[in-house]
């Protein structure tokens, strides 16, 4: 866990005071709607369909049990006793009152938390691998680099009013679990032939209305230059990113319009002035940050034999993950139980989860971008007890990596941007695929749902992606297949959209087609979709071209 120093604490306290003043000025009519909008958003406060929404930062997804208890308390006192974990590892409250948000921020500051830059046109929460620090394939502990970037980007005076939001992800392991390819900047730690640490830097990735995979701007950036190089990218973007059209304002459009070569030249020309300047990182900087993280004290323990059969074994197979230390494991608490909106937890569950973290995982948790919670340092000999307790809490659905581990945005039930609802679609699919044996047989499958093309549910990188669209005031759902987080790939639309009731049946047809075509159980849905293309899936769903109804070409399936 990162522990605040005096400067960290003072900044969040002063931010609370600043935001309290801004809210008072707005309520007194001294700030216009538009002015206050730009200010409240950078404190995570949206005005939503039915009420404001407050997005609380969980930097790089790392959370202490004490903080989770505070979140439970806040949700109970200021909201409706539940919260929603988002795909950016943050927590959203859906029903706070505008006038009370300064109070909520003050409560958060008492446990070293805040809502700084969780929205608005600035650098957002830095995200990373939820197995950072415990993964066996680790190159660097990405938390340290995330924290360096967090400090660099927090209240950065020059980059507080960017053309659009800016998302950075850091991956510190060999396998990319942070989806760096779909971020404005993605950095991937590497070790060169001389054993030196550096970063491969990608730029211009992102989802939303115009999804793009990031391009490599630098193959190997030695670590001392991480911040000055980001300064150079941000300055080029701040000056030249488009501000005339909100839909063309992300850095990906600038990179695309310039072309990566020209964009790289501009960044390098800027960097030439900044390189080796005062923002260059030193070993002492890195060690100072490293020293502020608490580390678990591991015992010397043997690896336990995994269970062979039964429900406990099924849970271990899906929800327990390898750990770099012998005798330990990481556990995912599934927030994807059928009937519960993906990522939602009640205050009572939060308190109970905090208790689990205290008893079994050093009082620490992580939020995954798949909207689940992770206990990262569990003794293998405690696994059965953790399973029993998690099951009693409804948090042990053995579906991690499977079809029902659905990633979904809050959608039209809450969000004022949404074209369509997400949560009922997720629920209908989970209900259709409630047979665990069948789910396991289907194997690994990421299913993502977004209620609009802003793509908060990351549907472009789902193996199956569902997008809510509006057609003449009605909710329809477009389906794409073949997307992936890593290596990043964007899904392809299979054809015209469907009514909500049709979606589970379409998913079933896609799965049947996959099962017919797979070489072996090892070949996942996404592998098949990428190998054989959209054609066979399309045919299974819509029928052959000559069988489609000429009168309702868009609704051949209905």
């Amino acid at each position: 866990m990162y522990r605040y120093d005096e400067i960290d604490q003072r900044l969040v306290d002063e931010r609370v005071r600043q935001f309290r003043g801004q809210t008072e000025r707005f309520l007194a009519g001294k700030l216009s709607e538009e002015e206050f909008r730009a200010l409240r958003l950078r404190n995570g406060l949206y005005i939503q369909r039915y009420a404001p929404m407050l997005r609380i930062a969980i930097p790089y997804g790392l959370l202490s049990s004490k903080q989770l208890r505070k979140l439970a308390f806040i949700a109970r006192k200021y909201d409706r006793a539940y919260g929603h974990f988002s795909t950016r590892q943050n927590l959203q409250l859906n029903w706070p009152r505008l006038e009370e948000t300064p109070e909520i921020l003050a409560e958060l500051a008492t446990v070293e938390m805040h809502a700084i830059q969780t929205s608005g046109n600035c650098v957002r929460n830095i995200t990373t691998d939820h197995f950072a620090g415990v993964a066996a394939d680790e190159i660097v502990d990405s938390f340290v680099w995330c924290e360096l970037l967090r400090q660099w980007s927090t209240f950065h005076p020059e980059f507080s009013y960017l053309p659009r939001k800016f998302k950075i992800a850091v991956n510190g392991a060999r396998q990319d679990r942070a989806a760096v390819g779909v971020h404005d900047i993605g950095v991937h730690a590497l070790k060169n032939a001389a054993g030196e640490i550096g970063f491969k830097v990608l730029v211009g990735g992102g989802l939303g209305r115009t999804p793009m995979v990031g391009q490599v701007i630098r193959e190997f950036l030695p670590w001392p230059h991480l911040l000055t190089y980001c300064d150079a990218i941000l300055r080029v973007y701040n000056r030249y990113g488009r501000r005339d059209n909100i839909h063309k304002a992300r850095i990906k459009i600038l990179v695309k319009e310039r072309g990566i070569e020209r964009f790289r030249e501009e960044v390098d020309a800027e960097w030439a002035h900044l390189r080796d300047g005062s923002a260059t990182l030193t070993q002492a900087d890195v060690e100072r940050i490293e020293a502020r993280f608490t580390r678990p004290q591991y015992e010397e323990l043997p690896d336990e034999k995994p269970p062979e059969a039964g429900p406990f074994a099924a849970w271990v197979r899906r929800n327990v993950h390898p750990h770099k230390v012998c005798g330990y494991a990481a556990v995912t608490l599934s927030l994807k139980k059928t009937g519960v909106p993906p990522g939602d937890v009640t205050s009572d569950q939060m308190d109970a989860i905090a208790g689990l973290a205290d008893r079994y995982s050093g009082g620490e948790l992580r939020v995954s971008h798949e909207q689940n919670l992770i206990l990262a340092d569990v003794r293998q000999r405690d696994l059965r007890r953790v399973w029993q307790e998690a099951r009693a809490l409804g948090l042990a659905t053995p579906n991690i990596g499977l079809l029902t581990n659905i990633i979904a945005c809050p959608g039209g039930d809450f969000c004022s941007l949404a074209n369509a609802k997400s949560i009922p679609v997720a629920q209908a699919i989970q209900e259709r695929f409630d047979d665990l044996d069948y789910l396991h047989d289907i194997g690994e499958l990421d299913l993502n749902i977004s209620g609009c093309m802003n793509a908060c549910g990351h549907h472009h990188v789902g193996h199956i992606g569902i997008l809510g669209v509006d057609k003449h005031g009605e909710e329809w759902y477009q389906i794409e297949i073949g997307g992936a987080q890593s290596p990043a790939a964007l899904g392809k639309v299979i054809g015209p959209a469907f009514a909500r009731a049709e979606v589970p049946g379409v998913i079933e047809k896609l799965i049947e087609t996959y099962l017919e075509h797979r070489d072996s159980e090892a070949e996942r849905f996404v592998d098949v979709a990428q190998r054989i293309g959209v054609g066979p899936f399309k045919e299974a769903v819509y029928g052959k071209a000559d069988q489609r109804s000429p009168r309702h070409p868009e609704r051949a399936l209905a």
Partner: protein
């Protein structure tokens, strides 16, 4: 109501400067005026919209890259909420938007007592 702040003080009536006043719009490149900076009485950077942050980079470049030492004034849609970051980027004068009270706005310079950026 006085709307001009210079060196953290409210200036009631701005005296007209001797020498050239250079005015830069968000899309302007400060490099284009670099050779005129030494003789300028003042450089103004316009912020036509509350949320257009290009002027922050322009200020930084004027100070750090082109060595401008004179008055650097932010004009346009400026409220107290911008002052702290603008000063960090090198502005020392601010013409606030209509309706902003300059005297009250002075408090914004101490919004934060510390910063992460070196």
């Amino acid at each position: 109501m006085a709307r001009l702040i210079k060196d953290r003080r409210v200036i009631p009536n701005a005296p007209s400067p001797e020498g050239e006043v250079i005015r830069l719009e968000p899309a302007d490149d400060p490099a284009a005026v670099a050779d005129r900076l030494a003789r300028a009485a003042r450089v103004e950077v316009n912020f036509p919209k509350f949320s257009d942050g290009r002027g922050f980079s322009i200020a930084w470049l004027l100070r750090q890259r082109y060595g401008y030492k004179g008055e650097l004034r932010a004009v346009g849609h400026i409220t107290r909420d911008h002052l702290y970051a603008m000063e960090k980027c090198g502005f020392d004068a601010f013409e606030l938007r209509e309706g902003e009270d300059a005297q009250e706005a002075l408090a914004a310079f101490s919004d934060f007592s510390v910063a992460y950026q070196k």
